[in-house]
């Protein structure tokens, strides 16, 4: 339990640091949505007017003061007000969060289904023909820019086949196809690990021994190989959460969905610092939280690993 507590504390520190980090990075560029809107030549504001409004938002104070103020607000749960829209950041986020979570969860579902289909396929298909092709899929999935997948899917399934309507962007099928676009690269990562593990596990001595006990291919796969091969998938999935949240920026843009991703997109172009900070911190919380849970739950799944042991979950090498 001491271990769990330490991990939680560590996670909290990381989240706070992520908050500060974002602030520092974004503050590098002097620019903010307020001055930006004001400087739109259509507006024709004078310099004094601009200064007055900037002062209202406290944007003229030294950076460290701003950071201190925003950090002390953040700690008590106040995310501040969006400079761009003037709405409370917590409201902006709570409005779009569920949409992104649904998308990310569906994408994860799609990714898992695809990955396991590939994984099982490699164990069943004859080595020479189907397998080579199947094994090439993860690589291919990882090489296609996700916006190309998105544009392709939307073109074919929404416009050519009319399966879903883009304006109904939160609808079931629309969400499914967005999830496919977002999930494909993730499925590749999972499949890579899964296939490697299935190969590895099936070459393990215990697989031979189990077969020597009369088990057939399916029995071996389901009773023996599946569980140990899937365990590292927990790690990959936990890491993939980051990719899902990051990838949502583009997927949401293409599929015309609201969500954390499109919120980031909009806020970045206007340098809406409070929103960006909140979103990045939220993403960090989700990522750190999921990984924390994975760390704490893993020992329950894998009898070999005990909580707090230095080698807890197997570290999967993340390739970017």
């Amino acid at each position: 339990m001491k271990y769990a507590l330490r991990r939680v504390l560590q996670a909290v520190v990381v989240v706070l640091l992520a908050y500060v980090f974002t602030f520092v990075v974004i503050s590098v560029l002097p620019g903010d949505p307020v001055t930006n809107t004001l400087r739109n030549p259509q507006n024709g504001f004078s310099e004094e007017e601009i200064q007055r409004i900037v002062a209202y938002y406290g944007l003229d104070r030294p950076v460290h003061e701003q950071l201190w103020q925003s950090l002390s607000r953040f700690v008590v749960g106040d995310l501040g007000v969006s400079l761009r829209s003037g709405l409370p950041v917590s409201r902006l986020i709570s409005e779009v969060l569920s949409s992104t979570l649904v998308l990310a969860a569906s994408a994860l579902g799609v990714a898992l289904v695809l990955a396991f289909a590939i994984g099982f396929g490699t164990q069943y298909l004859p080595k020479r023909y189907g397998q080579g092709l199947l094994r090439a899929f993860p690589s291919l999935f990882l090489s296609v820019p996700n916006f190309v997948i998105g544009l392709l899917l939307i073109n074919v399934f929404a416009f050519q086949l009319g399966l879903f309507r883009v304006i109904d962007s939160e609808g079931g099928l629309a969400t499914l196809f967005a999830a496919i676009a977002l999930g494909i690269p993730v499925s590749a990562r999972i499949a890579e690990v899964l296939v490697a593990n299935l190969d590895h596990e099936s070459a393990e001595e215990y697989a031979s021994v189990a077969r020597s006990r009369g088990l057939g291919r399916t029995g071996l796969l389901l009773r023996h190989l599946l569980k140990p091969s899937s365990l590292p998938v927990v790690t990959v999935v936990a890491l993939a959460v980051g990719e899902l949240l990051g990838g949502a920026v583009i997927t949401e843009q293409i599929f015309g969905r609201t969500g954390i991703g499109s919120l980031v997109e909009r806020s970045v172009t206007t340098q809406d610092l409070p929103v960006l900070q909140a979103v990045v911190t939220l993403a960090a919380i989700v990522f750190v939280g999921v990984n924390l849970i994975a760390d704490l739950v893993y020992p329950l799944l894998d009898p070999r690993v005990r909580l707090g042991e230095s080698r807890s979950r197997p570290k999967v090498e993340v390739a970017a």
């Binding site: 304006i167 293409i254 609201t258 499109s262």
Partner: protein
């Protein structure tokens, strides 16, 4: 085609819902702070009314203000309001409400983070409600542009209750009460705004040729950031209007039977304001060479379609007071070459002209407010390249652009203008630095003729007296090469389902669906 959409094939009928795909829903919904947004203007245009209506020819006609008078020096105006106009919360839109609006437009409220309306005349002094339907407005100096400005997209009439709210609440669109033909049904930040018709609406502008409530039941503005997704959705019948399709594809859509609309706003044409302090543009010949070296026809045929018009002056040709000055800057490559030769710029081995060891070059900053700007600049760079004039293109996002590209800054030799206005008098405030003018050409008040013309335009107390001054001013600015027009600007483009009819476009090129119907 500009103006009302073509095709009135089916008779008007009531009912139906349309979907309008838009590339952004702007930033904030605080009415004062957002009214300028090119995106939110669509929604404000249906949620709110204005005091006057300005059509796409710049003609001003009554709306909430039934009639108005002004004194001889154009410093005092009296507005007579229409009776019985109410906000959607049933409170009356009366003289007191108008005074509240005028005050907040002109001054904003810095303590609440509410900006003034940028283009509202700075000469505003105060206004008072004479009775429930009469408002008197006082100015410190002649303000010819006041009445047309009331039809500008910023001047939206909002309920005084809303105006009194703190900014965080005004930012919630559902708190923003207007008197328009539509009311808010629902909205989701960064996603969509759904409007439904207001059944008791009965005070639309006469100019739109429709009375009573709107015909359509609802309008959904849905944010779809990808241009290709917007157009494909209209093409496949999933939506009715796509905002800002790429101009080059319009012809092809048209041939497929879709309606396209490219209304022009009132304002300056798209062109370069030249900083005469920056080399090589400190030489009038180089400026003139630039004017004559640009092939506007090729721009239109390559980047745009024949719906675009070449510039005839520095104003769009629909602006009252604009005159045809195209001869002053007509495309003539030989002339441009000659001018550059005369100015002493000699072509080097790499095809770039040079003088005293300096190359003839400058940077164009593509205007992020105009989608086609990059393509136009690329083409201009190609054309100038043939003259031996090297042009580099720099493109920034809106934020960086606002930071780095400022008009009249020494690093910006040519500022790409995209600016709408409702009254040509605006020009007086940008040409020189007199009266805190924007000093577009970096001349300060050194060009006496320019100063004199600008002051004359500003001080004019009637449109008739102003017209000849305006004409002379346009001629002077163009002959001196201070401004290099490109094309008349179409900043708002629409791709539309052929079923949607009766759409109107106002003087700032916003589509209005009050009178529209689905065939």
């Amino acid at each position: 085609a500009g103006g009302p959409a073509a095709g009135t094939a089916t008779p008007p009928k009531d009912g139906g819902a349309i979907t309008f795909l838009i590339d952004s829903l702007g930033d904030t919904w605080i009415p004062n702070n957002s009214a300028i947004s090119s995106f939110q203007g669509h929604i404000w245009g249906h949620l709110t009314d204005k005091l006057v209506y300005v059509d796409d020819k710049g003609a001003v006609s009554p709306w909430v203000a039934e009639k108005w008078e002004q004194n001889a020096t154009a410093t005092e105006f009296t507005l007579h309001l229409r009776q019985g106009v109410t906000f959607s919360d049933k409170t009356p839109l009366d003289a007191a409400a108008v005074v509240a609006n005028l005050d907040i437009w002109s001054k904003g409220d810095p303590t609440r983070g509410i900006n003034p309306i940028g283009l509202f005349p700075k000469t505003y002094d105060h206004s008072q409600a004479v009775d429930t339907t009469t408002v008197k407005v006082f100015f410190k100096a002649p303000t010819l542009g006041f009445i047309p400005t009331l039809g500008y997209h910023g001047s939206i009439l909002i309920s005084p209750k809303t105006i009194a709210l703190p900014s965080a609440q005004q930012a919630d669109l559902s708190n923003d009460i207007g008197s328009g033909p539509f009311v808010l049904a629902s909205w989701k930040e960064g996603d969509s705004v759904v409007l439904k018709k207001r059944p008791d609406y009965n005070w639309g502008p006469k100019a739109l040729g429709h009375e009573g409530p709107a015909r359509l039941d609802s309008i959904t503005y849905k944010l779809v950031a990808e241009p290709s997704v917007r157009t494909s959705a209209v093409q496949s019948g999933q939506a009715d209007v796509a905002y800002n399709p790429s101009p080059q594809e319009l012809a092809s859509f048209k041939s497929q039977g879709f309606t396209t609309a490219t209304p022009r706003y009132l304002g300056f044409v798209n062109g370069f304001a030249i900083n005469t302090k920056v080399a090589p543009f400190d030489d009038v010949k180089v400026r003139q060479a630039l004017q004559h070296g640009i092939d506007r026809k090729e721009i239109i045929s390559t980047v745009y379609t024949e719906d675009w018009l070449p510039a005839q002056s520095l104003f769009q040709s629909n602006v009252p007071g604009a005159t045809d000055r195209s001869a002053d800057f007509a495309y003539d490559a030989d002339k441009a070459n000659r001018l550059l030769d005369e100015a002493g710029w000699v072509k080097g081995a790499d095809g770039v002209r040079a003088k005293d060891g300096k190359r003839l070059e400058f940077t164009l900053y593509a205007n992020p407010y105009l989608a086609a700007s990059k393509s136009v600049d690329e083409l201009v760079a190609q054309q100038l390249g043939k003259l031996g004039f090297k042009t580099t293109i720099q493109a920034f996002d809106v934020v960086t652009y606002g930071e780095r590209v400022k008009i009249n800054s020494p690093s910006v030799a040519a500022y790409e203008v995209t600016r709408s206005f409702i009254d040509a008098g605006t020009v007086a405030g940008v040409l020189t630095d007199a009266n805190k003018g924007e000093n577009w050409f970096g001349l300060g008040q050194t060009d006496a003729k320019l100063v004199q013309l600008a002051t004359g335009v500003a001080a004019a107390d009637s449109v008739e007296k102003r017209a000849p001054l305006l004409d002379e001013l346009q001629g002077h600015v163009l002959q001196q090469g201070y401004f290099v027009p490109l094309t008349q600007i179409v900043q708002r483009l629409y791709l539309q389902s052929p079923k949607l009819q009766g759409v109107t476009y106002n003087g700032i090129a916003y589509a209005n669906y009050y009178a529209a119907w689905l065939g």
